[in-house]
């Protein structure tokens, strides 16, 4: 399970913190699942379940940026929280650099939290309003056992690294900073434990465009300097294209397409990905969208549609889509260059009239 044939990425380099070698993916997510119960009635019994994350598998190669896109409510953020163990999963495994997470023989939870850190969308509410930012940044290392002096010195170094002058900002409180500065503090705090993998959950979505560009540049710099791996969750498809090496598209708690960024953006296979990409706004006033590419809202995840979950909004829907759920294929055994889509139209012999006839070589 933990040993898999995956071609090493070009960018991977030796890192003393490596446990599994450069070819071992940073993180393997195997069949992870989270259902939230809906309770009702006098006895408070579970009457239904929100299938927020439903059997998702993927891996993140060392040194890459994996972009995760999808509409709100598709389970992107639940997935991020599951990876961080902020909520418990119902089923599935996480393998961090070759070791199972949370099992007796594997990586303990605080080891995971050292290796995996997260930056949230709302830069203000994710900082403690009563702590000066220097202490906010130093908090994690102190909890993990660093002395207060060491932690503070490190916090100051990190502030310089994210472009904040330590003398000016160390003693300020979060409300004294602008949105971009607060997000820089959040990034510094996430870096304080020297993590391998950073989960950025809509980290630039709330920022002004000019500030967004500053923070994106910073993230790219840090990634190179500190040999980081990113999971970048966003609904801004332009930003995802700019920053990602590979992209994972989610719809109603499932992965519908995964592949290298250029393949996804230039040749999207799944009709949902095609529609999402068509929703990008052009900067040219001559190219106005006359009809919305995707009608309606995503269906309710409590009772997701049968078969392919996208069939209620898909222009190519046929009988087979209602009865049989298309499979994405074995993501964990595919290479990082493979482009997979969970759609009957790409699987030969699926019964869809647009499916290819012969098996592709």
């Amino acid at each position: 399970m933990t040993q898999m044939a995956i071609s090493p990425p070009a960018a991977a380099s030796e890192d003393p913190r490596d446990r599994g070698g450069p070819a071992q993916p940073m993180l393997i997510v195997d069949g992870i699942r989270k259902y939230f119960p809906i309770r009702a009635g006098v006895l408070n019994r579970t009457v239904a379940e929100v299938k927020a994350v439903d059997d998702i598998s993927f891996y993140v190669v060392k040194g890459e940026t994996l972009g995760i896109v999808g509409e709100s409510g598709c389970g992107k953020s639940t997935l991020a929280r599951l990876l961080m163990h902020l909520i418990d999963r119902d089923d599935g495994h996480l393998i961090l650099d070759g070791d199972l997470v949370g099992e007796e023989t594997g990586v303990p939870l605080d080891g995971l939290r050292r290796a995996l850190q997260m930056v949230f969308q709302d830069s203000y509410s994710s900082l403690n309003p009563r702590l000066p930012i220097e202490q906010s940044i130093a908090y994690g290392p102190k909890v993990q056992g660093a002395s207060s002096k060491v932690a503070k010195a490190q916090a100051r170094a990190l502030m310089e690294k994210v472009g904040l002058k330590a003398n000016l900002f160390a003693q300020r409180y979060p409300h004294e900073l602008s949105g971009g500065q607060k997000q820089r503090v959040n990034i510094a705090r996430a870096l304080a434990l020297d993590p391998r993998l950073l989960i950025l959950d809509e980290a630039v979505s709330a920022l002004d465009k000019s500030v967004e560009a500053q923070v994106l540049n910073l993230l790219e710099d840090l990634k190179r300097q500190l040999n980081l791996t990113y999971i970048f969750i966003s609904h801004d498809l332009h930003v995802v294209r700019y920053i990602s090496d590979r992209v994972l598209v989610m719809y109603l708690g499932q992965v519908v397409e995964i592949g290298p960024v250029d393949k996804i953006y230039e040749d999207p296979q799944h009709p949902y990905t095609q529609a999402l990409l068509a929703c990008r706004l052009s900067m040219d006033p001559e190219e106005r969208v006359e009809a919305a590419p995707l009608a309606g809202d995503p269906p309710n995840p409590v009772n997701p549609p049968s078969g392919c979950r996208f069939h209620t909004r898909c222009p190519f829907m046929e009988d087979v889509c209602m009865s049989k759920a298309p499979s994405l294929g074995d993501v964990l055994r595919s290479s990082a260059q493979d482009h997979l889509a969970a759609c009957h139209m790409v699987h030969p012999g699926s019964g869809h009239s647009r499916a290819p006839l012969a098996v592709r070589a």
């Binding site: 500053q214 994106l216 999402l276 706004l281 052009s282 900067m283 006033p285 106005r288 969208v289």
Partner: protein
């Protein structure tokens, strides 16, 4: 200062009297600690049936400017100067009684966050019916029929059921449509939209934009649309005004401003927007942050972040330079060449500066050589 009357807008533009006329609008918020100068002399005209997009960063005064058109600011703490004419009404001078009649019927507004703008204790139907009955004096049944019609107009699926729904029972996109329905309930002549699609998903945002544009055309409404997303402006605007530190620094048709931007700020904003740039290439971010509106310096407010500053930029705010098409920019580097605005780059062009200290050094060098 150049003249900015509509008579010098030549070409295909109709010369009818503008429906909205804002002249030298200034808004200050006064408190014991400081005076915040949020809007510092905004002048524009808007014709009937035209869409003006106001673009700017947070804190550029775009929302404040728009809210002044409905006098939504706290009376005691706000000083509003200048004139705002909407139709035959002088918004600055009308009595509160007249104003409350105008609100919702002649001028209507859509807000960014529908959850906080709609009343959580009343159903969508109740909120539309209240507006319709109040302004048009319809009976209960006629008003409900109208509410149903409105929900159909904004394409809410199964409208009968949604009329009886509370705001929290709707998704973000539906809530925003319901708010548009409330805003359109009395067929306003002027619709003010404050980032109505910013909180929505890309797929829903495009639905709402297409809908708004269609309704605006059908009802021949004028619309002022505030956004910080240039892509949204490209989709919906006829005219675009770029605001910085409470002033309009560039104004023109959407094609002129987005395809031939003149002011360094507009150019920088376009360059820093992530749109299909090559991966691994640094984005051209605008260094620094917007000025403090409590203590605005003399001179051009963009000077501290500008890569093309001249000595005179520090002395006074540049005047408006307008070309024959009505394209206006406020920058000493912009002149009129032939019929169009033209930006003349300085002799020593600073390279793209990625941080504030580099920029300061480059600017000092440039100011020194030119002085």
């Amino acid at each position: 200062m150049n003249d900015m009357t509509p008579t010098n807008l030549s070409g295909s533009m109709p010369l009818a009297a503008p429906f909205v006329r804002v002249k030298d609008l200034r808004v200050r918020f006064v408190s014991r600690e400081a005076t915040v100068r949020a809007v510092n002399g905004v002048t524009f005209d808007l014709a009937r049936g035209e869409v003006l997009c106001v673009i700017g960063e947070s804190g550029s005064g775009k929302s404040v400017m728009m809210r002044s058109l409905l006098r939504l600011h706290p009376k005691k703490r706000t000083v509003i100067e200048g004139s705002m004419q909407v139709g035959e009404h002088d918004i600055g001078a009308v009595s509160d009684r007249v104003l409350s009649k105008l609100r919702g019927s002649t001028i209507s507004m859509i807000f960014q966050e529908p959850m906080t703008a709609l009343d959580p204790l009343y159903t969508i139907g109740d909120q539309i019916v209240e507006t319709v009955r109040r302004h048009e004096g319809l009976g209960r049944e006629a008003a409900w029929a109208r509410a149903l019609e409105l929900l159909e107009l904004v394409r809410v699926p199964s409208p009968e059921r949604r009329l009886k729904a509370y705001p929290h029972e709707l998704s973000g996109g539906l809530r925003q449509r319901a708010m548009i329905a409330v805003a359109l309930s009395c067929r306003p002549s002027l619709l003010l939209a404050d980032e109505p699609t910013t909180a929505l998903d890309a797929s829903v945002q495009i639905q709402v934009l297409v809908l708004l544009r269609k309704l605006q055309r059908e009802m021949e409404m004028s619309m002022i649309f505030v956004t910080h997303d240039l892509g949204v402006a490209a989709q919906i605007a006829d005219k675009v005004a770029v605001m910085y530190a409470g002033r309009i620094i560039e104004y023109g048709t959407v094609a002129d401003v987005l395809n031939r931007p003149q002011h360094p700020y507009t150019r920088a904003m376009l360059a820093s927007t992530v749109k299909d740039q090559e991966r691994g290439v640094q984005l051209e971010a605008i260094a620094g942050s917007p000025p403090d509106l409590r203590a605005l310096p003399d001179g051009c407010s963009f000077l501290p972040r500008c890569g093309y500053a001249k000595p005179e930029c520090a002395v006074a705010m540049p005047p408006e330079t307008v070309d024959a098409r009505g394209h206006m920019a406020r920058c000493y580097r912009v002149g009129v060449e032939g019929q169009r605005l033209a930006f003349s780059a300085p002799a020593i062009q600073p390279s793209v500066c990625t941080n504030a200290s580099q920029l300061a050094a480059a600017r000092a060098e440039m100011l020194g050589r030119q002085a």
